[in-house]
Symmetry: C2
Amino acid sequence: MINIEDILNSHSNVKARTFKKGHIIQQAESSATPSIYVKKGILRSYIIDSNGKEHIYMFASKGYIIGDIEAMEYHQSTQLYIDCLEDCEVILFDKEQLLTILSKEHTVIFNQLLSRRIGRLQRRVLMLMGAPAIDRYAYFLEIYPELPIRVPQKMIASYLGISPQTLSSIRSEIARRK
Amino acid sequence: MINIEDILNSHSNVKARTFKKGHIIQQAESSATPSIYVKKGILRSYIIDSNGKEHIYMFASKGYIIGDIEAMEYHQSTQLYIDCLEDCEVILFDKEQLLTILSKEHTVIFNQLLSRRIGRLQRRVLMLMGAPAIDRYAYFLEIYPELPIRVPQKMIASYLGISPQTLSSIRSEIARRK
């Protein structure tokens, strides 16, 4: 299995960068939408809706790639803010750079990464539509096991589409069951 | 631009099939999860939640590929039902067949298709979390312009995560504005 970080590092044009906790890498309305590979730290992407409320789209820790694929693929300005929840080390790259790096073998690997992302998003959509909040939290713990101790609870609630109070009740319920 | 249908047809092992309206191609709990390329007709995928309520994940008309990518990638049995809303002509294939067909060039094309699907799903998640129902319906019309006259309104409401009554109010509101 080839490591994505190694593939990116093999290309001299990608940029390794460090950012402090709280740094905003991408603002909504921007037309510059890099892909961001996470070497260290945690980032999140989120929108602010017409009522001023934040909704977290995803978290990204070591090994994840975060960005706005919709904006990239459809050549739109982005709706997503991306910021650092911890001090971060990342590699910034864009699609054109990636296409020049990728061999046939790499492309097959990226196909699998993209397919798996689709699988995760499929589950996210289906859970947002039809699953109780407690099941959504259980799935969150499955895919992001280390996040509950690194990320504020209110952000996890925002990701799940529930209130912080509901998340607190769920956590109490789970603790009681154990 | 290479046509996906041509790529699939070039391989003798993929199966062209026809199904009557109402035929269920995939049942939940099945471990056989084909990818289905649509040549003609409309299919939908949906789950039935623990309260017996249907939630439509996606519609697929000519040129779409429908299936359960989560089940395929993570080797799980499927949660999704897939059925035919019209008489359908489809090509059934699986991932292994696809990998043997794809050249480097084709793989890059599939990368783009997968990326675009992620972009659509990103928007779907963000809209489910933060957008008013009328905006969700407007986006539905943008990506599925021909569906409102081919698919029952209650299914469109299910896809949007709203009640048929709410969808009816939205359609009246849009008609008044014109």
